[in-house]
């Protein structure tokens, strides 16, 4: 029997200050299921949409998305639709790696749609962000366990955010069948099916960190140990989660 090797795909974006008050994209390339489209930006900001040209990732697939925002450049990345982790013919785990760098004076808004873990899937997601001392970041991560009424697959995700060489956030979340016990219990998700985070990095937070506050029983805004803030939320479903994160982001942006 031959085991189908998974799909390996890489998408890369480089955002550069074009010297005329805008941002150019000297590198904008994606292969296989990862396609990138530049859309109309606003002001100095370039906008890119990640378009899933195939479904996936499936078991055995390995996707990598890289974005480098250079000094003075401003980039906003979204996705056209939610990403759905599905079981594949290969029994092995799928991987999705996101590697982001933001140089001093660069700004990145990384706002993809949800990641949905479908029944029988097995995905390990890693997100690694390195932000320069004077860089700015808004990053959203949302995970939905199962499509409507469906049991989730196995989903593990690790996020690591460094600012000026110091790691300010390093967290791993494991959910679904085969995850260590208690993941859905009263310390973990407590039956919620959507979980998300917003990471906001700003140099101003070094002097004036956000004040910790709760947004109801299921979400909180906290200052991290560094010039960064984190919003964590759990919700019954993707829609409620998005509403909570949007409200938290609007509140953080009103501080500007």
């Amino acid at each position: 029997m031959t085991v189908a090797a998974g799909v390996r795909a890489l998408a890369r974006i480089v955002a550069r200050d074009d010297g005329r008050g805008g941002t150019s994209l000297p590198v904008l390339e994606g292969d296989g299921p990862l396609a990138l489209r530049r859309t109309r930006g606003s002001g100095a900001e370039a906008r890119v949409v990640l378009v899933g040209a195939m479904s996936g990732p499936l078991g055995g697939d390995h996707f990598t998305v890289e974005a480098d925002v250079e000094a003075g450049a401003r980039l906003r990345v979204g996705s056209a639709a939610a990403t759905i982790a599905l079981p594949g013919q290969s029994k092995s785990e799928a991987r999705y790696d996101v590697r982001l760098t933001v140089a001093d004076g660069g700004e990145l808004h990384w706002l993809p749609e949800q990641l949905i873990s479908a029944r029988g899937s097995d995905l390990y997601v890693t997100t690694r962000v390195d932000v320069g001392a004077a860089g700015r970041l808004v990053l959203r991560e949302e995970q939905v366990l199962g499509r409507v009424g469906e049991e989730p697959g196995r989903l593990s995700s690790r996020i690591r955010v460094g600012v000026a060489g110091r790691v300010v956030l390093d967290q791993e979340l494991a959910c679904g069948p085969g995850a260590p016990g208690g993941w859905d219990g009263p310390a973990g998700l407590g039956g919620h099916r959507a979980v998300g985070q917003l990471v906001v990095v700003r140099p101003e937070f070094a002097e004036a960190p956000v004040a910790a506050r709760v947004l109801g029983e299921n979400a909180a805004v906290v200052p991290l140990a560094g010039p960064a803030a984190l919003v964590s939320a759990v919700a019954a479903d993707a829609l409620r989660l998005r509403r909570q994160l949007d409200e938290a982001l609007a509140a953080l942006e009103s501080l500007d």
Partner: protein, 224 residues
Amino acid sequence: MSRAALLVLADGRFPAGGHAHSGGAEQAVKAGRITGAASLEDFCRGRLHTTGLVAASLAAAAALGVDAVALDEAADARTPSPALRVAARKLGRQLMRAARATWPSAELDDLARRFPKGAHQPVVLGVAARAAGLGAVDAAHCAAYESVSGPASATVRLLSLDPFEATAVLARLAPESDRVADRAVEAARRVVDGGIDELPAGSAPLLEIGAEVHAAWAVRLFAS
């Protein structure tokens, strides 16, 4: 090593202030997520495999002599809730006081000088284990067990849960606690060669959010 030294360090009566903290149980009880022995067990199991594993790995790495400042920074990155960072440092300072009096050591003195407001408790625990002549395995077991024993004894007070039931919960979790300690020691050994990113980073969303909810209360029985 002395096996009795491990019993001294792990004893709930060791004067390190742990009894004032519920490990998130107080908020979970109020929110109706812990209502009895079964949900306490599920709560403790979730805590054990996430923050318990992280604490045990930090303690084991500190016991192996990994740089405590780097470990403390790694603990900060793995503790997004400022309420929990404050609690961990407070507990670290209290443990430091007790450990220096119990097992005087230059390493403990040095750590106390570097962190006058307290280092994260698991880091102090690991260095205290070294001072007591204990090893990484002992430190990991101590931290893993503490991650569940605190919420269990707090729940006895919060819910008037039968202490026998709470102890039975801890006994049922013992095999998993052993496995977490083993994984923690493996991770700590990888840290020695591969660097601090090898530390596990397991997180429990409702523990993090609940800690901030709890910190905002005007009146509480436990400090965290």
